[in-house]
Symmetry: D2
Subunit: 178 residues, 4 copies
């Protein structure tokens, strides 16, 4: 059997955010998510999401429209739940614990808006040594200064995508204990 050389893996970048963005910014959030997905795919990255609606669908739509690889890490047991822009659905059956799989399988995470589910994913991402680019998302601060992975604030979709692509080149940060 002939040897098959694996192409270098593209950067894996997760885009996280609300399934149903609400409030006055909802439209802008979805637009940003789609632009981020598109720019990441143009930059050569695979785009991972939770595979469902809202920000997840918008980001996958942007990436798929630009010819990118879209991976959906689903909470349920049925791959058919993936939105129509997901090329590779992974039905985990883990419920909310699938978020750990999403951030761990990614090199970098982009948060676009988001509520508590997104905060938990940001926390998990940092815990797993992944940098986070945040667009209109959570601010966190701690009384103890620490090094390691961190949240990088972006002001528009272009800055978020550029940050993420640059951070992905640097690779995961060694996770901190604790």
């Amino acid at each position: 059997m002939s040897e098959v050389a694996r192409d270098p893996r593209p950067p894996y970048i997760a885009v996280i955010g609300d399934r149903e963005p609400r409030g006055p910014d909802a439209h802008r959030i979805l637009e940003w998510a789609e632009e981020v997905g598109q720019l990441l795919a143009r930059g050569g990255a695979a785009v991972l999401t939770g595979g469902l609606g809202g920000v997840m669908r918008a980001a996958a739509r942007g990436a798929a429209g630009a010819g990118g690889l879209t991976i959906g890490i689903l909470p349920g047991e049925d791959a058919e739940e993936a939105n129509e822009y997901i090329r590779v659905p992974i039905a985990t059956g883990l419920g909310v614990a699938r978020n750990i799989v999403l951030v761990t399988s990614s090199d970098v995470v982009v948060a676009v808006g988001g509520r508590h589910g997104t905060l938990s994913e940001i926390g998990m991402a940092l815990r797993q040594g992944r940098h986070v680019a945040a667009l209109s998302s959570w601010r966190v601060e701690n009384e103890q200064r620490m090094g390691g992975p961190r949240i990088h604030r972006a002001h528009d979709s272009r800055e978020a995508a550029q940050l993420a692509l640059r951070l992905a080149e640097e690779g995961p940060v060694r996770p901190l204990a604790g």
Copy 2:
């Protein structure tokens, strides 16, 4: 066979924080964790932790010293890894994903200090509809205001324990989508 009436379950309160607190506050953090554990047990709560060292051990030590039930939700496959103050060790084998089990099995979470692992647990707790009492721990804010579970800041161990016991009486908040 005789019927056995189950006693009402005590409040289940998780205490989370660093395995190895560092820096100038490390000693104070451990002291607070032990006091919080003691006060929670005196208040009738079962104290859940990640079962290992640092804040986890200090909180369990405080609770066990006050005669409380201490439950350790361990990352590994060996119950012997639990610290010596854990009465009920649960070896999950899930690695870092055990944090979801810890916050989901608790009614309320108390964060004492902590780094990224603690931030991820705070995020998960809020995502699962659990209030968080925070003592020298993460501040988070979001551009979007939202209701539901939230982080309540405490200034000392007594205030943290009282907050947690009071919030536990109210029970979990219905988780928000997203």
Copy 3:
């Protein structure tokens, strides 16, 4: 603060089986599960189950009636789902993946009847190095002989409980790779 010596942990023995046993043996299966729970508790073991109905409830009922510690490793996010004989409910939020927590946190597993969910738990138990005592449950065989943990067939509830208590004394077997 006074030192608290932890009592030696009792053996942790899981009883697994159907949530709703069906067929001509359903009544016998439930009776056996209750007897096994009772005998394990009398033998000094803590009894772990999936915390819901059927075999899980019968085993917990038997153990609680004998004054034993009963732990329920629940699939959902609400401890109130535990049956009324569970003293320590652990709401994992993991869905079916909670079965890994159940077998990993136990020293030995007793299977009473059971369908595919039980087979998967038996497989996980063996994979995690836990012996299985099987009462009217799955037979498995492999073309490759191997050492390590295995399924011990019992013919009644007394034999199943005795086997489990004896195997628990020996402790977990070192898991095999693969």
Copy 4:
């Protein structure tokens, strides 16, 4: 932005087995795994494995050599652990619990040889309503007859691949309770 129609998803077929097959059949097992991977890819299926060595690597090698999509559901936190034939690595960070993700994300499972880890995956697959094609792997039987998903025995790699491709067309079976 232009609409992107998703191509119909190919069948997702998992190939499971030992990381280090041993004994007199080890060579045959690896050969079979590679042939199964190749035949599945030729039949249009994506091949999912645990992403590591032994049967996992052989199956991915066969599939990649035939131009198929290979997905690796890894236990660790580092995608670089994937063998060189994996095109889409998913680093779950879940340890042994990643096996649930592997079988749940697949439509059908092929077991080639295997020890306890493989038995647990077979059990989980059946529990999740997935049929299993077994080649020199576990036999299981139960005193209670039941319908639903089952283990189909194959005698060579061609029969295993054909069975799996045919069963994948039928789709997952509704999981049984229990």
